[in-house]
């Protein structure tokens, strides 16, 4: 199936070329980092992790996009998600790869990374994070590939894959939990030292991940014949809305605990982030942007009228992504390191080179998504699954009334358009 990624329009190749240019440019900076060391970053004695690890944290959430589609389909037999599953799984593959790459570029001696395996250390959460992310990557490659391949071959999914799918659903929760544990178990880091951190990670992952996926799929719809079923979109949006509500609720719990208890350690980080401390106000505008974006997106997502407005939806999702990124991808990490163990503030802001290397990894992720989505949409098109109808509906929209009954016959026949999806028993 991989060869399908080698055939595409000139627009497809232009996009691939664009990504490769970014990858090459970022790669050059990475070589520079490997030659001179991590001094090219703004990390320091006090802020020992920076943009790289914060992106790992955020992208683990993107991996959750898969489970929010897979779970309703497999656990609740929610049919409209049927042809969306593969995209969730493929997105998770890209997310896991990006996570792993962010670890590799972050470590000082990458050539020794196999020490993690040669000297396995179960008491280190980083060891478990490696296991869960690699495991989730493997499970998604396996389940995604096997299912898509069997679809393409016009066969039902093999029975042996089912346990792996179930495991992958459960496994998805572990990657957020373990990544949260990475932070959550450190003494003296008050901002992270909260039992609700793992729950916050799950909540933000379950809104941000599907939000990104939904946006990417909206783009996919524009450039391919793929069309999401309306019901699946509505359900996913609902999930995003609820998860964001929970996410913000958890955040307010943190605020309450810190300020009502009045424990200085718990207050300091929040105060630094939202008001500034010791003359350092670097993050204040960003954190308030987070709050404003969060409120705006909730306003756009909670009332059903607004939520189901497909014109508005991309904006709401965009705001949600910005909000969660600022919260989890920026504030969480810097706020955790500051105030430092010496109760001082050591500002951190990613350098241009850090951003270039990060851009490289994002480009690699985008490349993986592009290639995998290309393959998946190609196969869907060949099979006639979830294809766009002239009326704008998807072939999976069983209640499509826009064009009347003759819709799926004449108009789209000239194209390689699919016939009506036969009532296939679920595999």
């Amino acid at each position: 199936m991989l060869e399908r990624a080698l055939k595409g329009s000139s627009r497809y190749w232009a996009w691939i070329g664009f990504l490769l240019v970014i990858i090459a440019a970022g790669g050059a900076v990475l070589v520079n980092q490997w030659v001179v060391g991590l001094e090219i970053t703004d990390m320091s004695r006090d802020v020992s992790w920076g943009f790289y690890i914060s992106q790992l944290t955020y992208l683990v959430g993107l991996a959750a996009s898969g489970v929010m589609i897979v779970l309703p389909y497999y656990f609740h037999h929610y049919k409209p998600n049927k042809h969306m599953v593969i995209f969730g799984e493929f997105m998770a593959i890209a997310a896991c790869v990006m996570c792993l790459l962010f670890v590799i570029v972050d470590i000082g001696q990458p050539q020794r990374m196999l020490n993690m395996i040669f000297h396995p250390t179960p008491n280190s959460i980083l060891f478990w994070d490696m296991i869960v992310i690699n495991g989730y990557l493997f499970l998604n490659i396996l389940c995604g590939w096997v299912c898509l391949e069997h679809d393409r071959m016009h066969l039902s999914h093999p029975k042996w894959i089912k346990p792996f799918i179930i495991i992958s659903i459960v496994w998805a929760f572990s990657i957020h939990t373990v990544t949260a544990f990475l932070y959550q178990g450190l003494p003296g880091r008050h901002y992270w030292l909260t039992a609700i951190l793992a729950a916050r990670f799950l909540a933000s992952a379950f809104c941000a991940g599907p939000a990104i996926l939904l946006l990417v799929l909206k783009v996919t719809e524009k450039v391919t014949t793929f069309q999401m079923p309306k019901k699946a979109v509505a359900t996913l949006t609902k999930i995003i809305a609820y998860a964001m509500v929970v996410n913000m609720f958890f955040f307010m719990l943190e605020i309450f605990t810190a300020f009502y208890s009045n424990l200085p350690g718990h207050i300091h980080s929040i105060a630094y982030l939202f008001a500034g401390e010791h003359g350092h106000h670097e993050l204040v505008p960003y954190m308030w942007t987070f709050i404003i974006c969060a409120i705006l997106c909730l306003i756009m997502l909670i009332p059903p009228k607004l939520r189901d407005n497909q014109k508005l939806l991309p904006w709401a999702l965009g705001l949600l992504i910005i909000a969660t990124w600022l919260d989890k991808g920026l504030g969480l990490l810097i706020g955790g390191f500051n105030p430092t163990p010496f109760e001082t503030i050591t500002p951190y802001w990613p350098t241009g080179k850090e951003l270039m290397i990060s851009a490289m990894i994002y480009a690699i992720g985008a490349l993986i998504v592009t290639v995998l989505f290309k393959i998946a949409t190609d196969v869907k098109q060949e099979l006639g699954h979830s294809q766009a109808l002239p009326c704008g509906c998807s072939t999976e929209d069983t209640d499509c009334e826009c064009a009347g009954e003759e819709a799926p016959a004449a108009d789209e026949a000239a194209e390689e358009a699919p016939a009506v999806e036969e009532a296939e028993a679920t595999a």
Binding site: M1, L2, E3, Q111, R112, L114, F118, E149, M153, H154, L155, S156, A425
Partner: protein, 344 residues
């Protein structure tokens, strides 16, 4: 059975130097004479075989066309320049991809039959493992061969040093483990297991298919043994190898017998190479279905032995069918033919 024979052969090949050098002290023979001979035989055999191929002409242009031809209207029908090349440059690109990326093997699928609720299904699953492990094996072999230049060149050129460094970048153990060593063994084991496990492939596999696999595996494992377990004296070995390439052959003391096993297996490989299917290495360059452009409709190709065969002439044809043709109103070149043939 074929696999067992091959394995036994390779074991015997290991035992020969083990006894000859270990007990018989034939260091010079196994360190100098045999490698020289083998290298010479390799070169001669290799060239001789290619010349043998080259002697046969290429009467016709018969490229396999794996895509759209060059059309009279290249705008409307876009040519697939890689799979259906129409000029030398495109053909060279096709060959490069074939040789360096194993492009045809990348297409590989595996067919299977299924009885489903909807009826019988012939399914073609994507099957790229052979491609992947073949790539791993061949590239590892290539890197390992280049890396060995450190023993044959003095001073060692930068690219050999760089390759050595990159190959050991993961800093595992001392001396550092080469990644290519692991990959070549993985590649070989896959190729071997595939032959043993897949009934179809086992059915077509000959002794000559297993033997090179075991032999190369023996070469790789003896090399690994030398480096990581026996920890042979590399500098002494370099004196020997440099002696070979400067035509000043001698065998310094203190070289472990495992080195002679390794060299003997490599020598066997070199001698065996031109006699065997391993000649697919140069052969792929000469494959007439890949190394020619599909340009016969607009470029004349010469068959040096084109036989002088003419069609049955129209004259004979008209003579044969003349009366009937005339009756049917078909024009005749020779009106004489319209008459019914006289009884001769």
């Amino acid at each position: 059975m074929n696999a067992l024979y091959s394995l036994v052969f390779v074991f015997i090949l290991v035992l020969i130097p083990l006894f000859a050098v270990g007990a018989g002290h034939m260091e010079f023979g196994f360190g100098v004479c045999i490698p020289y001979t083998a290298f010479a035989l390799f070169l001669i055999g290799f060239v001789w075989k290619i010349i043998g191929w080259a002697k046969s002409p290429v009467p016709f242009r018969i490229p396999t066309t794996g895509g759209q031809q060059l059309s009279y209207d290249p705008e409307l029908f876009k040519q697939n320049k890689l799979d259906n090349p129409s000029n030398g440059f495109q053909t060279v690109v096709r060959m490069i991809l074939e040789i360096f990326a194993f492009r045809s093997l990348f297409r590989n699928t595996s067919a299977s039959l299924h009885e489903t609720k909807g009826g019988p299904v012939v399914a073609y699953a994507s099957a790229k493992w052979l491609w992947l492990f073949a790539i791993l094996f061949h590239y590892s072999f290539f890197i390992i061969a280049l890396r060995h230049l450190r023993l044959f060149l003095e001073p060692i050129p930068f690219f050999v040093k760089g390759l050595d460094f990159m190959d050991g970048i993961l800093q595992i153990g001392a001396p550092v483990m080469y990644q290519s060593d692991v990959l070549i063994v993985a590649g070989l084991l896959f190729l071997l297991l595939r032959r043993l496990v897949d009934a179809k492939i086992r059915y077509i596999s000959l002794v000559t298919d297993y033997f090179p696999l075991f032999l190369i595996l023996g070469v790789a494992l003896s090399g690994i043994w030398m480096r990581y377990y026996a920890k042979v004296d590399v500098v002494a070995i370099k004196e020997l190898t440099m002696g070979l390439v400067t035509f000043n052959p001698h065998v310094p003391a203190g070289i472990d017998v495992s080195f002679f096993v390794h060299v003997f297996l490599v020598s066997t490989l070199m001698v065996y190479f031109p006699l065997s299917k391993l000649m697919h290495m140069p052969g792929v360059f000469l494959s007439p279905t890949r190394n020619m452009p599909n340009d016969n409709r607009f470029h004349h190709h010469v068959n040096p032995w084109n036989p002088d065969i003419k069609p049955l002439s129209y004259e004979a044809y008209e003579k044969d069918f003349g009366p009937a043709m005339a009756e049917a109103g078909l024009p005749l070149d020779n009106p004489e033919n319209a008459k019914a043939p006289e009884e001769a």
